[in-house]
Symmetry: C2
Subunit: 480 residues, 2 copies
Amino acid sequence: MTQEEELHPDDVQQHLREVQDLLARQKAVENLVSQQDVPRHEMVESLVHKQQQAELAAKLEELHSADIGYILEALPLEERLYVWNLIKAERDGEVLLEVSDAVRESLIESMAPAELKAAAESLDADELADLAPDLPPEVIQDVFQSLDPEGREQLRAAMSYPEDSVGALMVFDMVTVREDVSLEVVLRYLRRFEELPDHTDKLFVVDREDHLKGILTLECLLINDPEKEVAEVMRSETVISFTPEDEADEAAQAFERYDLVSAPVIDSEKRVIGRLTVADVVDYIREESEAEILSNAGLREGEDIFASVWDSVKNRWAWLAVNLVTAFVASRVIGLFEGSIEKLVALAALMPIVAGIGGNSGNQTTTMIVRAIAMGQVEPSAMKRLLKKELGVALFNGIAWGGLLGVLAWWLYGSVSLGLVMTGAMALNLLLAACAGVIIPMLRERLGADPAIGGSVMITALTDSGGFFIFLGLATLFLL
Amino acid sequence: MTQEEELHPDDVQQHLREVQDLLARQKAVENLVSQQDVPRHEMVESLVHKQQQAELAAKLEELHSADIGYILEALPLEERLYVWNLIKAERDGEVLLEVSDAVRESLIESMAPAELKAAAESLDADELADLAPDLPPEVIQDVFQSLDPEGREQLRAAMSYPEDSVGALMVFDMVTVREDVSLEVVLRYLRRFEELPDHTDKLFVVDREDHLKGILTLECLLINDPEKEVAEVMRSETVISFTPEDEADEAAQAFERYDLVSAPVIDSEKRVIGRLTVADVVDYIREESEAEILSNAGLREGEDIFASVWDSVKNRWAWLAVNLVTAFVASRVIGLFEGSIEKLVALAALMPIVAGIGGNSGNQTTTMIVRAIAMGQVEPSAMKRLLKKELGVALFNGIAWGGLLGVLAWWLYGSVSLGLVMTGAMALNLLLAACAGVIIPMLRERLGADPAIGGSVMITALTDSGGFFIFLGLATLFLL
């Protein structure tokens, strides 16, 4: 690669196309040979094939492991495994870290225990901890045995923290310095490194027992006179640090708020035990918002787009089952009023409007509340105020949209009282939606559940059944 | 602050509580005084008041501007403006950058043009460009006049790029060095700086005309022998750079994929014109996923949780209007079959199940497809394969869940043929949902629209009307 060929963001798609081309050419040759069905072609084929394989392997070798991960994600299973086998064994570990859970599963399934062990051994303790849940227990056991005592301790620590904690995200490699040396000494010390840990934007200043005394940013190190002592230029006040027990979500917000690149992780005695970097935080933010979007649509996890029908069915069935139950309940509510519908069939045509708008409005409310809770902005005192506001919005919408629908119902069916029932039912159902939209996420938060997940099913269930009940009930009372 | 008081991620909530306490105490004194209604208290009140105000101002002064932004977001309008007025004028600009659009609007409304001008003048060109859309035109004009020619050029450039481009995110401050100097010279050069630009993890190596020749990471600068020349140790191959026209989304993916902290932005002649940093990318990622979650729930933008009812109504009406139209269409579809419902009222109770499950299933499909498109993994060739898979899932679910519902309908209403119609309608509507779930986002992508936005309304509209039509149509054909 010459300097002219700089890596542009769309290059990874270029890489993907090149790999796909190579695979297609390979397939074309294979097809040609199999059509001819002549044994003497075997040698030719195998030569061409080997050449193409070598070309593909060379192409893969020059790619960043993240790009290889991307390509593996985009290939159907058969081609994915073919490419996977062409990747050098020593890169297996880092590539496994780059792919999604679903694709990782498909790759790990294709590997022998010995290969897996070799791949795992090429990783740091924190990376290994990320991979461990997907590895067979005997492989983990083997890898664990092969670690040095410090590595074992780190792996044990990293695996012991819950998934959404700082401990699960932290890395162990870092550079620490003492406060009583000059910057010149630090500069000379750094020159002894082959490389610095990723995302080193600051060095941690510690004492003999690893207690955090302050931080020395590389900036500070570079702009100050090398004669100065570390203690003179380090920052010891308002150092942002985390404990492994802190929630990853709060750490992510702190990284965003204070534009951090890395931060020390300390134990209860202020000893530095690890480091949190922006790369892990960015991955976490992306994964969290993915999870929220997926769960809003009722998907348990991301799917390999080339997964089998059966894998997809398993990923999606739980949500459909819940919806089936709530839809069935709503259906039984309608069943209660079959007599009324028989007398006035217009009710059947109008009732889904009341239920549907209620659900949409409730989801708008709950999304706002969940956002506000996630930002930590909803104190109990704010709840009353929010409820009042949401009820205000619902009342306005109920009268405005309900009124419009009332007029439409009157026009369609020539009955003023049907129109009035429609308006009243809309207003009441929107008020119900507003209450549910505020209270459900707040309650879930107070009960320690993630307010973002599953709220929309509950609200829709309530506004469906509630909407049918309110509309058909009012109609039965006033129209029949 | 002593070293003991380290900043922890939950500290910002602590700050918020302290500010709220101070505000509450102030209010308590005011209430007490106003109850007494005696003029001689006026002086006392004003003394106490002034003291409290000073305490609050001092508290605010020691906070990071991001934390002040957070506190402003969490306060109701009246208290928010009170706190805002206590913030030193020279910090106004940076705080305005930290708050959400909705809150920024409320703050800017409260400021006089001269104050706004002062606040704006304290910002860099790229920050100013972010703020500009919210400022009154005459203020922008004034600020523009006060800039030096380079600043004007930068501001003009920053404002000329579309919102979701790299140009809109880039910053202009950076450190560049020449390739023919020694690292020792670079180190001495850096010592002349008071501070380095935020997120400087690499220096850009340029020639006399600012053409990018390579990058020199701070790591490289620190670990290498200072006698070496920049050209010896800089990286000139596979340098990841962007152009201002690149899409921000692609840049964000590249930052994630390659774990970047900063990257050069170059023009068409490879001259370095700016820099993209991870802080801006993280903000962008968060804003994008927020926007997706909000728009999924039919909200145009984030709401200030203390906004007026009227502001909320304006933010939400468009989505409700669209839903009203689609619900009305579905209602007219039912209207077509009123005769059938009159004869067999069980249809009215069962039809929402068919429509509802179809909508949920379609949303699952479309969410998967939108994810895959966002990852750039869906090539035209993959479309056929995906459609086949989704139809497979739909057929399976249709038979399984449809069969279950058919049995339930049979059990409830004692009619085998009603059960069979139910099963058939479920299967057909799920197949419709699967087709729509694949095709709608793909078409939107091809037409240049954001596939993530608004897809769910269209699918729900289709599966509602389609579900009613299929179920009532089959019932009319086979049962009556």
